[in-house]
Amino acid sequence: MIPPDAPELNINQIEAGTFSDFPKGSSKIIRMGRIPVIVLRKKNGDFKALEATCTHLDCTVQFKTDTEQIWCACHNGFYDVEGRNISGPPPRPLGQFNVTLKDDKVIITKQELA
């Protein structure tokens, strides 16, 4: 009764939305294959995309606009906006994705392919 291996969906690139979907200080969670990715726009206008799964115990993180930090509500874990774990239980930084802007589209790609 061991579950069969699910074939890895080979998605390397995904469109997160258009430029206007992301006002400064906003964020959105999208899915790349099986991985949830948090795409956020800092107050200075820069984009950032990180794996949205907390490295502690798997909860989905959120972007705190006021402090520009990433917060995991499950056990009060904090990451900075670059995805580095800064306080609380998370043992590792969040995985990184690349953001490119093409026309007015926000495109997220897996890092090793960039």
Partner: protein, 355 residues
């Protein structure tokens, strides 16, 4: 004797069964109230069976149907809300009473020879009870349950060697999805009740064969001087009285303190603040929250799992570790160990709710 009784008796040998029930006598002393706790747990389990089976008639596992079907049960099905509330309340009281039962048995040293196996089966029943709660928690497929299950199964994944395997078996894949829900449903309504029933019968038979244990101090009193009453029918009737009171309490709780259904689970939504497991996992949850990311060379998660693993094993094997109890001597060390555990659980549970 009535003809009817005689007819049955000739075929099922009821006389022997009644003799078996009457054989046991229940000691009357300051600790007699403790003897109700196991019975109340039994009664609550019976309620779970009945209400659970009724829920099965309408509940539909699956990511797209589970939440909706529970909503249907509580809003459209006649008295569906009552059945769900009773199932939820009785589940929580069940765990609570099993805990009470376990600790009173512990402090009365009732696990000592010859009742080691009664303790072991009781511990297994507690573990299964917790598994019932954990698997049942996910079934409504709401946000709280979704993240609690992610976290809970991830912790199982941290167990050395078998973790990876356990995680995949529990989740039916790498992620918590509809497949996990179906699996938890099967575990909750078929696998657990089956195993639970077998162990429960063993547990009860042992209690019936061995009679009630009394604490070492009472055991020293010569047998003729100890007061007892027959288990059947005297104590059984008292049991029924207590059950009736418990049933009324559940009815009040179910009507005045309903369990929220919350928001439907959505993997693309951040975990909301206030994610927490059921209260009986809270002390472990709070401990994990306090352990830093790294302890010595271990990840904090692994350290916590090992801590509880070792603690659980010690507790499990207490009858064999507490050697003094075999001689009818109260071991100070184990009594303090128990007190420490109770205090630890209470403090961390309250703390977990405060922060």
């Amino acid at each position: 004797m009535s003809k009817f009784y005689q007819w049955i008796n000739e075929r099922l040998e009821l006389d022997d069964a009644i003799k078996f029930a009457k054989k046991k006598r229940v000691p009357i002393f300051y600790g007699t109230v403790w003897y109700y706790l196991g019975g109340v747990s039994l009664f609550l389990f019976a309620i779970q069976l009945v209400t659970g089976i009724l829920l099965v008639l309408y509940y539909q596992p699956g990511a797209e149907t589970a939440f909706e079907s529970v909503k249907f049960i509580v809003s459209k099905v006649e008295f569906g809300w009552l059945i769900r509330e009773i199932h939820s309340w009785s589940a929580n009281l069940f765990i609570l009473f099993v805990f009470f039962h376990m600790f009173t048995v512990f402090f009365a040293k009732a696990y000592r020879k010859p009742r080691e196996m009664t303790w072991i089966t009781g511990m297994l029943l507690l573990v299964l009870g917790l598994a019932f709660g954990f698997s049942g928690y996910l079934l409504p497929w709401n946000e709280l349950a979704y993240f609690a299950t992610k976290v809970g199964s991830d912790i199982a994944g941290a167990i050395p060697w078998v973790g990876e395997f356990m995680l995949r078996v529990l989740r039916a894949g790498d992620e918590v999805t509809g497949a996990t829900l179906t699996r938890f449903y099967g575990i909750h309504i078929a696998i657990l009740p089956g195993i639970f029933t077998v162990l429960l019968v063993m547990h009860l038979m042992m209690v019936q064969f061995q009679g009630m244990s009394v604490p070492p101090e009472i055991e020293k009193i010569p047998e003729e001087k100890r007061k007892t009453i027959p288990f059947f029918p005297d104590f059984v009737l008292r049991d029924f009285m207590v059950w009736l009171i418990v049933l009324n309490i559940i009815a009040l709780l179910a009507v005045f303190f309903p369990w929220e259904l919350g928001q439907k689970a959505n993997p693309l939504v951040s975990a909301p603040a206030g994610i927490r497991p059921e209260w009986y996992f809270m002390f472990m949850f709070q401990t994990l929250k306090m352990i830093p990311a790294h302890v010595l060379f271990l990840e904090g998660e692994l350290f916590g799992v090992m801590l509880f693993g070792v603690g659980g094993l010690i507790w499990f094997f207490v009858p064999f570790l507490d050697k003094k109890s075999h001689m009818g001597i109260r071991s100070r060390f184990w009594t303090w160990f128990g007190i420490f555990l109770v205090v630890y659980i209470i403090i961390l549970t309250i703390w977990g709710y405060l922060v």
